[in-house]
Amino acid sequence: MIKPSQAPWLLSAPALTLYATFLIAPIASVFLISFFNFEFYGGIQVSFTLKNYIEILTDSYFYEVFARTFGVAFLVTLACVVLGTAEAYVLSRMRNPWKGLFLMVVLGPLLISVVVRTLGWALLFGSTGLISKGLQALGLAAGPVSLMYTNLGVGIALTHVMVPFMVISVWASLQKINPSTEAAALSLGASQFTVIRRVIVPQVMPGILSGAIMVFAMSASAFATPAIVGGRRLKTVATAAYDEFLNTLNWPLGSALAVLLLIATIIVLIATNRLIERRYGAVFN
């Protein structure tokens, strides 16, 4: 017989097993390995050392990598907030069947691999790519312009990848808005712009913020886009960790980088979440 107190555990056992196997175990082992020692000639040695963390925290090279990662992630988030909110609002104001069609256009890219989409940007960004040729033809650039291996290029490509997530998040919030609030604001003498600024945006703020959290976390840990557009020169934490693992074979250092990225991202997310709850708890129950 199953005791009533055991039932919840048994019922959630399949999901718990899945999480334990595919999420907790890998993260735990990465965490463990980050304390191991690595010798260039001896390989990985099981031990407990803070050497890897100390190396990262004392080397300005890694500071640069972290700064670049979070800097790009922040700017991408900002761009996504602006573009995604505007896109979602325009979409919500469209009439059927255009609404459905353009929603497909916005979300369609999610069906294509990130690698493929980024390689597409690589074609546009190169010194002989469309953007470079176009700028030269318009007389806006004297010589070839390459956005490859630049922060701007990484930012643009990442924004393109992330915007659909923002649109989905804001879209969900927009659906919950009572359309008469817009009419009410108009009747009280507000201009269309004021309606958006004072009535629409504040109401979708929870959607914007949760979308921003999602975009920031994914941008900070993105790998494919920075690896392709940023290349080996413009490292982010994710690509740096990848190189430590697969090129230098310094698994412990790579693990330490991964752990620090995880911790930094979690701190940002929790802080933002706190802020949201404090600000909007009273408003939206």
Partner: protein
């Protein structure tokens, strides 16, 4: 001099007219109700006055100014929406202050007017509360305060009480009426609730399928409906076919078995409306309609009876005056005065 005039106002959606050549003149300070079943065009009319819907034809003149090309945010009207449409991210006082801020009114004056208006609707103590933490009735009051604080040229109410429970609705009716009286704002109410329209308005506009059926003061509209539709929609009504009767000594009409002397009342129509509360139970006599009590429902202050007669089922409402009405299944006789028959429909 009329304050708000609707001239031939028409709105077509494709081939169907939601509002068909509506003509209405509203005096300053008047409380007008647009009453009708859903789909009668009353809400469309309100939205045309508000400026949210553009008329297909006709125009709206407010205080001598043609409103046709004036956008909603320049009309200066106060609107209370059916679902209140409060801004959920603002407190009660911020909601009320919004319209004043749009007018660029100074902070001190704004705060004072917001406080006064919230007090007027009895919400002075909830100024800092968010709408999500308020009851339906309280949200309703905030919405009213928000519309009133801008001193609107016209106050438009779109089914404002339909989301409240019955008891609260009656309370709000009284309050709405007294607030409107005290500040004297010209008000247009859209409602499908006949008792609301009767209780609140100076005049009622009964609408059906985009057309006006009758414009009259509540008492007149109820006592002298000019069509079967108005009679049936505004309260309960019995409709009888009337036949000319020549066998009697004095001028009379026949309704099924009953021969009713006209006592000088003109009876030009083929059908009449008799209100159920005007019908009395009587002893058998030639002028009474015999029938069988089909059902009787006790409703506290009155009895609601359905009597089966050869003229169809007749609804009778009797005041609960302490005397019990006849048992179900009993034979009863129904009588009413000639002047209680309201002619509707054309005479043959």
């Amino acid at each position: 001099m009329s304050y708000l005039v609707l001239n031939n106002l028409t709105k077509r959606y494709g081939p169907t007219a939601a509002v068909d050549s509506l003509n209405l003149e509203i005096r300053q300070g008047e409380f007008i109700s647009l009453l009708g079943p859903s789909g009668c065009g009353k809400t469309t009319t309100l939205q045309m006055i508000a400026g949210f819907v553009e008329p297909s034809a006709g125009n709206i003149v407010l205080n001598g100014r043609d409103m046709n090309n004036i956008p909603a945010n320049k009309r200066g009207l106060g609107i209370v929406f059916q679902n209140y449409a409060l801004f959920p991210h603002m407190t009660a006082s911020q909601n009320v202050a919004f319209g004043l801020e749009m007018q660029g009114i100074k902070k001190a004056e704004c705060a004072e007017r917001v406080a006064d208006t919230l007090k007027l609707v009895g919400l002075g103590h909830l100024a800092d509360r968010y709408p999500a933490r308020m009851s339906g009735g309280q949200q309703q009051r905030v919405a009213l305060a928000r519309a009133l604080v801008i001193k609107p040229a016209v106050l438009l109410l779109d089914e404002p009480l339909s989301n409240l429970d019955a008891k609260l609705r009656e309370e709000m009716q009284l309050e709405l009426r007294s607030i409107q009286r005290s500040i004297g704002t010209t008000t247009v109410l859209v409602t499908h609730d006949q008792s609301e329209a009767l209780a609140l308005s100076d005049r009622i506009v009964v609408m059906n399928q985009g057309r006006v059926e009758q414009i009259a003061e509540p008492y007149t509209a109820y006592e002298q409906p000019n069509s079967e539709f108005v009679g049936g929609f505004l309260g309960k009504a019995n409709i009888f076919q009337v036949l000319a009767e020549s066998s009697a000594l004095e001028p009379s009409v026949r309704i099924a078995e009953a021969i009713i002397p006209l006592e000088g009342v003109a009876m030009p129509a083929s059908s009449v409306i008799v209100r159920p509360e005007k019908i009395l139970f009587s002893s058998p006599q030639p002028s009474a309609l015999p029938g069988i009590m089909k059902t009787r429902v006790f409703q506290g202050n009155h009895w609601l009876c359905q009597v089966k007669t050869s003229a169809g089922d007749v609804l009778v409402i009797r005041q609960n005056d302490g005397e019990s009405v006849a048992e179900e299944g009993a034979v009863v006789h129904l009588r009413w005065r000639a002047q209680d028959m309201r002619p509707v429909g054309a005479a043959n």
